[in-house]
């Protein structure tokens, strides 16, 4: 079934007939990740950074080891640049909050794109509303891509932040981050990257990409839920105002004054998700063992094959035709609502997502209110796409 030798995925083994095509929502977990979490609780569980006993030291070591592992995995210059969050959403909320409050002034402009997930739009919208900032939308092209000329048209001196997804969770479009980064930096603005859909699928190095901050979730890269990462370039992170308050993020608290801890701890209030960090580190080891260049090569084959076979289906609208795309396919079958189609596919043991995919501005731009999405990962193969295509053809007959 798998193209790559991925090892064991217990859930997929237990459901041999399941075609899991919802990897953009969350990926299934390989056995080493599940084992790492279980082992952590059986051998090292204690709160971190607080006690002197050996068990607490082991737990702290596991947590900080995971931070180092993440830093190396994404090419960060130091583990001080790695802030653990609950996921991409919290990471983007943190950056939207702290970046705007540290560096922006009323009247400044933030550019988001038409292909952004709600979790990138809403935090910046909230920050804009509270601080008198303006939000502009970078439109997509007919092919579902971003054109830097459109960014130039949108530009004015007041633009201070550009935020965009690395890979669209709907269109599968891979955006040209290095070129956007040079454009944005030449004009003295910040570039925020929503990397939720890319980190687990392709080589990912923040210094090559050139962004100033990047957010991603562990559970979309074969790790556990409830943990994610915000990477911020050290000079910027050092000056950011805090987000949440609590234990760990402070240096001293008195009745008259509070001083804050150093980054990244300044941004990690409360007891962290140590189990999650340990699981994420195991997921990273797992991805590295497969070689990310190879993973991306295989996924691009699936992306090309999928786009080809889906486009051949009569009465099917496939959204987006980016030149470089990930195997994420969003479509509608004429006369069949996305929920009904997803239900039909489920009766064939094909798991897809239906709805608006938390990207209502994009769906509106595409002229749809909802759509079906099939998103693939390292556990999928061409046969899975063939089964999807067969089922789609049957679905149209069923609802016709």
């Amino acid at each position: 079934m798998f193209t790559l030798k991925t090892g064991r995925f217990p859930l997929l083994e237990a459901n041999p007939n399941l075609v899991y095509l919802d990897n953009a929502s969350t990926t299934q977990k390989p056995e080493p990740v599940i084992r790492a979490i279980s082992e952590y609780y059986q051998t090292r569980n204690a709160n971190v950074h607080r006690a002197v006993y050996r068990l607490a030291e082991a737990s702290t070591y596991a947590y900080e080891g995971a931070r180092n592992r993440v830093a190396r995995f994404i090419g960060a210059s130091s583990s001080k640049e790695i802030v653990f969050t609950r996921g991409t959403t919290e990471a983007l909320n943190l950056i939207a909050h702290s970046l705007t409050r540290t560096f922006l002034h009323p009247g400044d402009v933030i550019i988001v794109t038409q292909m952004d997930h709600h979790s990138n739009i809403v935090p910046f919208w909230l920050a804009a509303r509270e601080q008198g900032l303006h939000l502009r939308f970078w439109p997509i092209t007919q092919t579902g891509e971003l054109d830097i000329q459109d960014l130039e048209t949108l530009w004015s001196e007041q633009v201070r932040v550009v935020t965009l997804p690395h890979v669209s969770n709907v269109l599968g479009t891979v955006n040209p981050i290095p070129s956007v980064a040079s454009f944005v930096h030449e004009r003295g603005a910040f570039l925020v990257l929503d990397a939720a859909q890319s980190v687990g699928h392709m080589p990912f190095d923040v210094s090559e990409l050139g962004c100033d901050m990047a957010a991603f979730s562990s559970h979309k890269m074969y790790g556990p839920m409830g943990i994610g990462v915000l990477w911020v370039r050290e000079q910027i992170l050092d000056s950011l105002v805090p987000y949440q308050g609590g234990g760990e993020m402070i240096a001293t608290v008195s009745e008259t004054d509070i001083t804050f801890n150093e980054p990244p701890y300044r941004f990690e209030a409360g007891t962290p998700n140590v189990e999650g960090a340990v699981g994420l580190a195991a997921a990273i080891d797992f991805l590295d063992s497969l070689d990310r260049e190879k993973i991306w090569e295989e996924e691009q084959k699936l992306a090309r094959y999928g786009a080809e076979v889906l486009s051949d289906i009569e009465h099917l609208t496939l959204y987006g035709e980016a030149a470089i795309r990930a195997p994420v396919f969003t479509f509608n079958l004429e006369g069949v609502h996305s929920h009904d189609l997803a239900q039909f596919l489920d009766s064939r043991s094909i798991a897809v997502r239906s709805g608006h995919h938390c990207a209502q501005p994009l769906l509106h731009r595409l002229g749809a209110t909802s759509a079906v999405r099939a998103s693939l990962g390292i556990c999928n193969s061409k046969e899975d796409l063939d089964r999807l295509v067969d089922a789609l053809e049957d679905a149209r007959r069923y609802f016709q």
Partner: protein
Amino acid sequence: MNELDILYQELILQHYKHPRNREPLSGNFIIHENPSCGDSLRLQIEWEGSDRIRRVVFDGHGCAISIASASIMTELLSGRTRLEALEICKRSLSYLRRDPRDSMDPGEGIDLGDLRALAGVRQFPLRVKCATLAWHGIEKELKSTISTPKLVGKDLNPR
């Protein structure tokens, strides 16, 4: 019958493909949406006098289940008084959401028409909200248009 056919009974697909009382709306209507999926129904009550529904009409977009349920609803509510319509709403909602462990059948002693063909939705908890979408919308509308004196008037509870 396989699982899928329990949900999409022929009668349901018929209502989906040829919905009753679905037409482009003008004038005053209410919009009722399911924010999690983007489905959106527009509903309008045509009154005959102040208390009797001549007809319920709708348009909008939704899945087979939500459109069929809306279509069936317009059939069940047209010609009813406000109180009758509210009772049918209450019973229909309980019927669609019925927990199989409940001993009482909320559909007992009331004609729920084609709605009974939607009972299969109970086996698909995630789709119950599709089936109830139109009903929630119309129930809200029926309650919101009750004028205050009627709501507190003695004639509501003659005994």
